[in-house]
Symmetry: none
Subunit: 193 residues, 4 copies
């Protein structure tokens, strides 16, 4: 119980410190930020990599939860993406550092995110709501790039999570080229240029 409290505190501080200092953050920095001695940190996470893995696991857990909450299987694909995107960006901004850090999420964790997303894109292609000339994996990869970039920018504080998410989603769904139809969603998130 109490252990969990301390471990959680350390993890949250780690996320913050790593987001600031990137890979160059030392365990000293993290321990100091969390208000414990370096050695204490080792009681909870027996190595730097262990700490990073725990952090990744935590992030993946949050993302998994977001996906489940979004119930993406029950709504049209564009709506599902809309639901899920902001969640990704909000969560991701907390764990940006991970993107640049060594320990890839354990295969199982990554799968827990990738699998439902891949299914989502496949469904979209099949039901004709997403373009059919690109494989689902490619679409997912591109979507991932967009989300990851948005996370970086949101984390740097240049823009809020909200407008960043809206813009990314609009461009991903509708493209950057102008069309005749009103682009409602993006317009809502931003000023009416």
């Amino acid at each position: 119980m109490l252990q969990d409290r301390t471990a959680t505190a350390i993890l949250e501080e780690a996320a913050r410190v790593l987001a600031e200092h990137r890979e160059s953050a030392s365990l000293s920095d993290i321990a100091q930020g969390a208000g414990v001695a370096r050695s204490t940190l080792y009681r909870y996470f027996p190595s730097r990599e262990a700490l990073l893995e725990a952090l990744a696991e935590r992030a993946m857990g949050e993302l998994r939860a977001r996906i489940e909450q979004a119930q993406i299987d029950t709504v049209p694909v564009p709506e599902a993406l809309a639901r899920v995107t902001r969640g990704f960006i909000a969560t991701g901004a907390k764990y940006v550092a991970l993107a640049y850090l060594s320990p890839k999420p354990s295969g199982s964790d990554e799968l827990a995110i990738n699998a439902p997303m891949t299914r989502l894109f496949e469904r979209g292609i099949e039901d004709g709501s997403l373009r059919g000339d690109l494989p689902a994996t490619t679409l997912l990869a591109i979507y991932g790039d967009l989300v990851q970039g948005a996370i970086s920018r949101a984390a740097q504080g240049d823009d809020g999570v909200e407008p960043t998410s809206a813009a990314v989603l609009a461009v991903f769904l509708e493209g950057a080229v102008a069309t005749n139809e009103p682009q409602v969603r993006a317009a809502r998130g931003r000023n009416r240029g």
Copy 2:
């Protein structure tokens, strides 16, 4: 004469090694990869930062050249983007590492890339070829995320530069949502190689 050869060899090896090991690559790794002693490396680049700067300058130089060659001011915006994208990705794949490394390109260098691209997006918005509900800087940022992601993937060798570029361009311009009109450009880039 001979100096330039060695310096170039070091730079190219540095690009390769850094692409693999990210920021964690040590000068030892780079020197070893380039087949010279650590101290020799210091003859050419008197500090780690100097090496990174030289590398960045090199990358920026190539990118600048690509942009100039593309003559983006003389063609419609979508065509200009098509011309420029593949160049970015091909060049960028050689210098992925830089994206994650500290020494940001010197202001002037970065400007030499950003300025013409910003102008391009502004022109697209003005002439109605790009959507007008998002500021040019936002569109550019999103485009940048896409290109950077594509670079990473192309560098990891998962896909070739060619199809990666085509896919990225198609989604950025037209979006992921299916439309009635045939999506010629993406189709061409993928299947007719």
Copy 3:
């Protein structure tokens, strides 16, 4: 508690090693001599300069103490010099190295030594016990050379602190030229312990 012990041990070993190898002594040498790892040394003195400063401070502290103990303001100048000289040489022999090392004692420290000595020489000139044809600062500089040289020789173990001090003092006060009067003081310092 225990910290102080280790720090002190390091400092004393540093004094010894530096006295032997002069400026060329590496931190490795010092650490090895003190029986700790190089990195341990850094726990106590976060940089080479910090170690040297600590050493200088220590030496200055001892010298200050010697001067105070000697109560040089309460006795005739020659007697004051007699009292103070042996203290300087004994203390100095422990810290010879410092004379050759970069980080000059902090202004305040040096002042704490120089000021009272300058006053002493000025008093001697005024009350006629010291020759009046040379400024006090010159006399002090010459006295300093003598003491410093004596320290070097005493440290090299060629002679003991005792006879070295006596000889230096005798020559400084009375000169090397023979006089009619018995040279009591030097004789006393030499043979009568």
Copy 4:
């Protein structure tokens, strides 16, 4: 012939550079100062130590010449010291660095200086012109400290060679304590306090 010219130029530059930067002066500094490439320096002096030895030899040569010129065997001891002291200080100031540098002058060289000086002091003691309560070697050592200190100060430019020499000689011969007799020599070198 031409070789000698270059070698001499290097040696003189070395003396200057070393006097400035002490032990920390690198061969690069010296070579650069002398206007030759590092590698060229190696043609003349096959190692750092060789260069230093050559420098020491040069200094000793000059000192030997000074002593011979002074014809110290033909005049009373105090006069001999007066003649020799200024020469030592003037020459020494050019080679201060050597005092702090590792390669002690080769035994034979040092002897060429020490032997005549020791003889001089011994003669002084025997003929009653120098005090007899201290061994000649001690007197010589003390005289050496004085001269070396004077060299340092003269080299630092705090005072000229001339007054520094006069003061040192006066104190060494007559002592710092005031006497009834006029202290002619020192008075000449300095202002009549």
